[in-house]
Symmetry: C2
Amino acid sequence: MNIAIVGTGLIGGSIGIRLKEINFSDKIIGVEKSESNQKKALQLGLVDEIQSLEDAIKNSKIIILTVPVDAIINMLPQILDQVTDQVVIDMGSTKSNILSLINDHPKRGRYVAAHPMAGTEYSGPEAAISGLFKDKMMVYVEAFKSDEDAFEIADSITEQLEMQTSFMNADEHDMHTAYVSHISHLTSFALALTVLEKEKSQGRIFELAGSGFQSTVRLAKSSPDMWTPIFRQNRTNVLEVLEEHINQLQKLHDTLESEDYPSLHKLIKKSNKIKRIIK
Amino acid sequence: MNIAIVGTGLIGGSIGIRLKEINFSDKIIGVEKSESNQKKALQLGLVDEIQSLEDAIKNSKIIILTVPVDAIINMLPQILDQVTDQVVIDMGSTKSNILSLINDHPKRGRYVAAHPMAGTEYSGPEAAISGLFKDKMMVYVEAFKSDEDAFEIADSITEQLEMQTSFMNADEHDMHTAYVSHISHLTSFALALTVLEKEKSQGRIFELAGSGFQSTVRLAKSSPDMWTPIFRQNRTNVLEVLEEHINQLQKLHDTLESEDYPSLHKLIKKSNKIKRIIK
């Protein structure tokens, strides 16, 4: 049995490394648009060979899509047109649009919508690492619409990636990811822009940057090619959380501006409840 | 020679651990308002004994202030009234207000304004750790106004903490810390508030929280008792950077709302320049 990985970057490459480690399949076939990334993926041993999408579909039992979400939306219907008994797994970060797009496709059952809640701020084949997924959450979305055997095959990969699992509907998934992933990236992008702007007039500003700053700004290294499509596909939820976040920042601003320190203290103390959630 | 540490929390306690490790002084005397923290500091071996502030001043050559900045502002003038040839080092996170307050004090020369750019999101004696300061930056502010011997004594501690050093004036320091430290805390507080609010109606929202979310929100565990005074003492700078940050978030919001994806892509790409700065 062969597995095709479409997009040999951080996610696709990290899946390749892991599945090769455990000899899960006969061959891992990479599908990759960029010639330089093709070379890197082969050199780094993320995949065994590179094939065209058409060939890879024909030659594989499982096709895993790890390209940016707009590319997934473009290619998924055509991929489903070409499958017989293969399983197509989409690992993208947004789900509502893609699921309504292929809801009535005759091959809907061969498709499994999954989202591994794992990643780093780096991208490309060089960013791929073994163990990226270990103990992280794989979210299945509308799994009940996949054929039972297709789901079982997708889940056997999740198991090999040593992930936990969770089930959601598409709206729930897209809203939750907006709140615990997409907004974190937006705040980092905005924070980087804020400070880089100031650096122009204040050359030494980064001299004092410590671990707190690094922690809140590191996601600003994330790829615009990956994130612009995510924000686009999850626009309504992202706008909602962004507005609420600006609103919370404005509240902090207003208590400070009006020197209402008891209220500022109270807001900070309330935010401390996040301790319940994160270690 | 004895050293007094006023405030045996994260910063004071971590200094105590390190100076005791290397037997830098005869005794480390802790000054601590909270009885429960007094006990913890002794139990954890952060200090050798607890004394009142008055006794500690009399019995020490070096007095290090590691209480919240509003407490430093309250106590520093009175401490300087009591010193003869001791050295008083303030390790607070804001400097302009404190420096103008004691600028004309007859004992100004015995005082060294320093700010260790080190910390974690935890507080209290239990948060103290060895090595907290290693390779971090100690910023001296208006060091030229300290007596040479006082500065040398303070710097010998910095050396024992294995820190790098930097020199700034007070305005520069307070503005830079607003941009690379204070704003990071505000964005985390606001992000925590945003998501905690949503949790009320969406119980499972944190199920999908991954390392990106943790990274941007972890500072929201920081103590309101420490941070409210910092924002208060650095109010003008903090308001400036907060307004600029809200402005940048609003720009991201507006490009997404108007579906101007080329501009959104460009903003994200521009924010990626932070790669130059952080590893």
